[in-house]
Symmetry: C2
Subunit: 126 residues, 2 copies
């Protein structure tokens, strides 16, 4: 594999909630067929972060990047996620596990969201 | 104004949470200085959606597009948001208030998130 990524999202009771995360994973694999991507959820859905890391380790990953699909820094990314990362690192001491910024901290994502909002307004009636 | 938009997000106890929404607003205004953008939050932060719509109406907006800065469809966008939209429409019967899809339902946003995740993995050590 070229790289290994966990897309980490909040999760929800509604199964439809996972669809955009699946779409991001599919777009990543389409752009780079050698990449290994697992989805993981903080709550309501499975797998959790630990199990997703286990799966990537079992697939032979040596370095994993966790990308939080959270808009912004909050208790979830400041407190919950570091604890989960620590547990995963303890479980896999030979793995390198890095963590990216939440999506809304990435300037290129901010630009994409701004373009989407502007296009939505341009499409609206009135 | 060229258009009026409410960026509607979840909100959080942590004031830092609002920063990406502010960055999206700033990027929109930079791209289109004639646009009017207000931020609104479901919980923990103010203003709420109704107050943001009031502000845009007071600024002369006739048509408003609400853009949910939620990754996916869930109880928040399926139940909470429609009720808030109904209340805003009742309060402003002469305003047209449209609502866009959550960000993760937009293919161009999915592509941007995939690119960000791939770039994060490429930057990671190991």
């Amino acid at each position: 594999m070229t790289a290994a990524v966990v897309l980490f999202g909040h999760g929800a009771r509604d199964p439809e909630w996972a669809r955009p995360m699946e779409a991001v994973r599919d777009a990543m694999v389409q752009a780079d067929p050698g990449i290994a991507v697992e989805l993981a959820y903080l709550e309501f859905m499975t797998p959790g972060l630990g199990e997703a890391v286990d799966r990537l380790a079992a697939r032979g990953a040596r370095a994993i990047t966790v990308v939080p699909l959270f808009l912004a820094r909050s208790g979830h990314t400041k407190r919950d996620l570091p604890g989960l990362l620590d547990a995963a690192r303890s479980a896999h001491p030979r793995l390198t596990i890095a963590c990216a910024d939440p999506i809304g901290e990435a300037p290129e994502v901010v630009q994409a969201l701004a373009r989407y909002a502007l296009a939505s307004a341009a499409r609206a009636p009135g």
